[in-house]
Amino acid sequence: MASTRVAEILAVVVDGAGRASDVPPRLIRACTAALPVSGVGLILMTDQGPAGIVATSDSPAATMEDLQFTLGDGPCVESSRTGRPVLQPDLARTGPERWPAFSAGALDAGIRAIFAFPLRVGGIRLGVLDLYRDRAGELSQADMTEALSFASAATAVLLHLQAQRSTDGGELGAIPVLEDRAEVHQATGIISVQADVDISEALVRLRARAYASERPIVELARDVVHGSLSFGDDTLAG
């Protein structure tokens, strides 16, 4: 099944990582190795725009992220804003019209193709995984499948890092694949209202509760949707 590959990627990048902060660089190294791309960048995004560069594989990738950070625009920023991948197999042909300043800088750095994958869980905006290539050309269907699996893994990693920050660190355990089930998303929405927190914090709390109670997140989510579990003020956070 699809999530098997994502779990496999997560296991590989977590295994051997000493601290949580080692995981993103390991992830982009694995991504660069697994795909016919020249380099990879991982950035954080908020509703306001780029919020930080998490990891970049090499100098052009760093330039690509710096440019978007400075300009506040580019394929990666656009992909986060719209929630859809922005695939630019031939940046020299299609880029300058859409993002003139960004494209000039990126082409100058030797970037010829960019594939940007938004790392979002519905209304939760986490970041973007940016793949670049030093020559033009599309990703094959198999490469696309692999890239999307890495995007799912990167989403799980960013969620995990966010949860760690809100609970003040902790041991680096296994990073679970995000359960993409209707109940989980509905419960996240419900918790955001019950606990009066934003949607991203709501998902962090649901995942933390599932982890602490050693119950599958789908089961817990179902209880929230059916009203037998509440995350109101009387509930301890996280």
């Binding site: 099944m1 699809a2 999530s3 590959r5 994502v6 719209t82 929630g83 859809r84 991948p85 922005v86 695939l87 197999p89 994958f117 938004p118 979002r120 869980v121 519905g122 209304g123 599309e138 990703l139 269907q141 696309m144 499948t145 999307l148 699996s149 799912s152 993409d180 089930r181 209707a182 998303h185 509905q186 419960a187 996240t188 929405g189 419900i190 918790i191 955001s192 209202v193 019950q194 934003d198 949607i199 949707v225």
Partner: protein, 239 residues
């Protein structure tokens, strides 16, 4: 209204995907609703490829159908998966006779109250992007006319979904499919948030968001995004 007039109206509705407020989740829900209305089915569901080798459930018209489709994805067996894998329509399968074909899925489908099932591929030239699942409570067969209309609806929906007039097919296909999956998650979150705010079921919350989107000419995902962001207008809270 006579049947052929209604049919024409539905096709116009399904082809109308280039409008400003087009919303993929709303569109697929409409498609499954119209299948039930026009084809003599009791329930319909729709799955799209997640391009990671799997399928994602996008919509279902009945809760018992939704639960069954989720089960189908978990056990990786059943009409939608078979249709998606082969690219061929699966038609008129009576569930009493399907134990050999789908040993795990069949008892669950019978338990859910269904007597027969069908699955129609959503195809764009060589690529299968998903499957449309139909269920009837009784073990009745759909006529070849009904199945033909169903396949035509699936085809029109596929074309509409992919806005195929655009160049770079592979690129557009990926962008559109991923965007559709993203919208679905957003809508689920909004269903939850609105249900908690208004004190109604998630189903009722969905109905209210769709009605609000329609009456204000907004895309469903725009309404969902506002609800998730904490902006909820009064007509969503009271019905």
């Amino acid at each position: 209204m006579d049947e052929s007039k209604r049919l024409a109206q539905v096709f116009v509705e399904l082809a109308d995907t280039l409008i400003e407020d087009f919303d993929v989740v709303d569109f697929l829900q409409t498609l499954t609703d119209r299948c039930v209305e026009l084809l003599g089915a009791d329930a319909a569901g729709l799955m799209l490829s997640d391009q990671r080798g799997g399928l994602q459930l996008m919509t279902a018209t009945l809760e018992r159908a939704r639960v069954l489709e989720v089960f189908e994805l978990q056990v990786q067996e059943g009409p939608c998966l078979e249709c998606f894998m082969t690219g061929e329509a699966v038609t008129n399968v009576e569930l009493v006779e399907a134990n050999k074909r789908w040993p795990i899925f069949t008892p669950a489908a019978v338990e859910a109250g269904f007597g027969a099932t069908h699955a129609l591929p959503m195809r764009l030239r060589g690529t299968v992007i998903g499957a449309l699942n139909l269920f009837t409570d009784q073990p009745v067969h759909l006529t070849s006319t009904d199945l033909g209309v169903g396949q035509a609806m699936a085809d029109v929906a596929t074309i509409g979904l992919l806005h195929q007039q655009l160049a770079h097919e592979q690129t557009i296909l990926s962008e559109q499919l991923q965007s559709a999956l993203h919208s679905r998650v957003l809508v689920e979150q909004a269903k939850g948030a609105l249900s908690a705010r208004a004190g109604v079921s998630v189903g009722e919350a969905f109905a209210r968001m769709r009605a609000h989107a329609r009456s204000h000419n907004l895309a469903l995902s725009v309404v969902a995004s506002e609800v998730v962001g904490g902006t909820v207008t009064a007509d969503l809270l009271t019905s």
